[in-house]
């Protein structure tokens, strides 16, 4: 546990010192919320959901900041590899699992902080959330998404030598994962074939879970959301731990 804490502590210190990264990864979802949310509010008719569009979009943007922050936190391992620091941890008398868990804990924590910053900004902009209980539910989903995608990032980083493939990955894996998740639009509004595709996207369950917590409504049963995203997180943690075990520098 001490080792996990140590590695978590390092992530926190690095996070708090990188103001540009904090602001950078908040900016995108915040701008989307402002431009899309408020811009499309009066045009978009949410029909049966009975919400305005900016309220609908907010949980999606919270999920977005958690998703992107956690993937970057996992992929951080590539930087550690290239800057040599990974050697320092790998040659110490400790298990790979401890290192991996510490990195995951650190990534998930930073991701949740980013999500909450965005949430606070959204509330300051005048969007309402349901209440403390709902916030706790949404927070729980943020934690699980954070764990899942930090582990996902670690799994990818374990197999990549440098950052050259990362752009490809962003465009063909991470963005579709996010785009299909129903963060921007209700999944029921998609044509039938596409809406069934979204059900294979683990992020759909994460976004819907956060939406249930923050706005009180979701299109997928929140319990199902919790089960699926938790299962996905467990699977990612296992894959991440397995692949990280084989990393050599």
């Amino acid at each position: 546990m001490e080792i996990v804490y140590t590695i978590w502590l390092r992530s926190m210190k690095r996070y708090l010192r990188s103001k540009s990264r904090i602001i950078g990864s908040i900016a995108m979802p915040l701008f989307l919320l402002l431009f899309l949310g408020f811009g499309l509010n009066s045009i978009v008719n949410m029909g049966s959901l009975g919400q305005n569009y900016s309220t609908f979009l907010m949980p999606g943007m919270v999920a977005m900041s958690v998703l992107f922050t956690s993937i970057f936190a996992g992929v951080q391992i590539i930087w550690d590899k290239q800057f040599g620091f990974l050697k320092e941890t790998l040659v110490a008398p400790l298990s790979r699992l401890e290192i991996m868990l510490g990195q995951t804990a650190g990534g998930a924590t930073t991701a949740c902080i980013q999500g909450i910053i965005l949430l606070v900004l959204a509330v300051l902009l005048g969007l309402n959330i349901v209440g403390p209980a709902g916030f706790v539910i949404a927070f729980a989903f943020m934690v699980v998404i954070g764990i899942a995608f930090t582990a996902f990032g670690i799994a990818i980083a374990s197999r990549m030598e440098d950052m050259t493939g990362f752009q490809l990955l962003m465009n063909f894996l991470i963005f579709p994962l996010f785009g299909l998740s129903g963060a921007f639009f209700p999944i029921s509004s998609l044509p039938g074939w596409l809406s069934s595709v979204t059900l294979f996207d683990p992020m759909t369950y994460g976004v819907e879970g956060i939406r249930y917590g923050l706005t009180g409504t979701s299109q997928i049963n929140p319990v199902l959301c919790g089960v699926v995203i938790a299962g996905f997180a467990a699977a990612m943690a296992a894959i991440g731990a397995y692949l990280f075990r084989k990393v050599s520098v």
Binding site: T6, R14, S18, F83, G84, E88, L90
Partner: protein, 328 residues
């Protein structure tokens, strides 16, 4: 003397390349042992195997009696390592880098703080302890890494090219630190280097390694003595005639190398005029003549027939520094 490191027939092959080829040596407690050889000779590969970072293909090794394959964690606790490439966290302060290391090696809090302070003072970085490593010069980073490698009181310290890429002044300073360390802490140090002066100055014994094999192993003094005394180099248009003209009992060895002829003998100063007289008598032209004490460079040359190449930082290191610039 107790044995600190025992290596038997250690071998590492990468598909078709044999990077380390059945090397064996023994290092005593408190000794500074050097692996000297050109880049790519297999020094770092040897070190990586001893530090449990790389699985040997065959052979075995023990560090302080612990087998490197059977008890990896045991070995890791017993060793400290300073890698060839930097391995500090640049976004943390000097103190935090030390503290992180102490925690990873499970050193209790009070001892950790006390030792960190002591070591940072030793490498003269205590005043800069709260500065971010990014602001440190190359020499300061090296010193910090050495201090960090000592934090958990290892019995054996590995230094992989400790002064590569540093300016001569900083290099001298680092050598002084390493000498002080070896004296004060009585730890065993294994260092790899392709700098002759470094090996000569620091090491008690040196293994000259080339193409994965140890080709000579002895103290620097004896390695140099093995060449047979001082070296007189004569450059001439007719080098082939010099050898026969100079046969005398006080000459140990004559070696032709292109236009140069290298003569090994003791007390070269006393015989120099005789050499010149004899060559003049035979009407052999002398373009240049010089006398020098043998260096490890000469030893390397005589064992391998080539000089150690000083190479530019490799492509990987270049990429790394590029990335660093991009990131900042």
């Amino acid at each position: 003397m107790t044995t600190a490191v025992q290596v038997r027939d250690l071998t590492k092959t990468f598909s078709t390349l044999t990077a380390v080829d059945r090397i064996s040596f023994t290092i005593g407690q408190g000794e500074i042992f050097g692996l000297l050889g050109p880049n790519g000779a297999g020094k770092t590969t040897t070190l990586s195997m001893l530090a449990t970072m790389l699985e040997p293909s065959s052979g075995s090794a023990e560090i302080t009696g612990i087998d490197i394959q059977k008890d990896q964690d045991g070995v890791r606790k017993a060793i400290g390592i300073v890698f060839q490439d930097q391995s500090l966290d640049e976004e943390l302060t000097a103190w935090e880098n030390m503290d992180f290391h102490g925690r990873l090696y499970r050193i209790p809090k009070e001892i950790r703080g006390q030792r960190t302070e002591e070591l940072l003072r030793l490498v003269e970085l205590y005043d800069r302890r709260n500065d971010i490593v990014k602001t440190f010069s190359g020499g300061m980073r090296r010193r910090l890494e050495i201090a960090r490698g000592l934090l958990h009181h290892p019995q054996v310290l590995f230094l992989d090219e400790p002064t590569i890429g540093l300016d001569p002044q900083t290099r001298n300073l680092l050598w002084e630190y390493i000498e002080t360390l070896a004296k004060e802490k009585n730890i065993t140090i294994i260092l790899t280097t392709h700098y002759m002066e470094e090996a000569d100055r620091l090491c008690d014994r040196i293994a000259i390694i080339d193409h994965g094999k140890i080709i000579a192993l002895d103290t620097p003094a004896r390695l140099k003595d093995s060449l047979g005394g001082d070296l007189v180099t004569i450059r001439s248009a007719e080098p082939a005639r010099i050898g026969p003209a100079l046969s005398a009992p006080w000459i140990n060895r004559i070696e032709n190398r292109g236009d140069d002829v290298i003569i090994s003998l003791h007390h070269a100063e006393q015989h120099l005029s005789e050499i010149v007289t004899r060559l003049n008598g035979e009407k052999i032209p002398i373009d240049m003549i010089s006398v020098h004490k043998p260096t490890l460079e000469d030893v390397f040359l005589s064992y391998t027939g080539k000089s150690i190449r000083e190479e530019e930082p490799d492509a990987k290191a270049a990429l790394r520094s590029q990335l660093k610039m991009m990131r900042h």
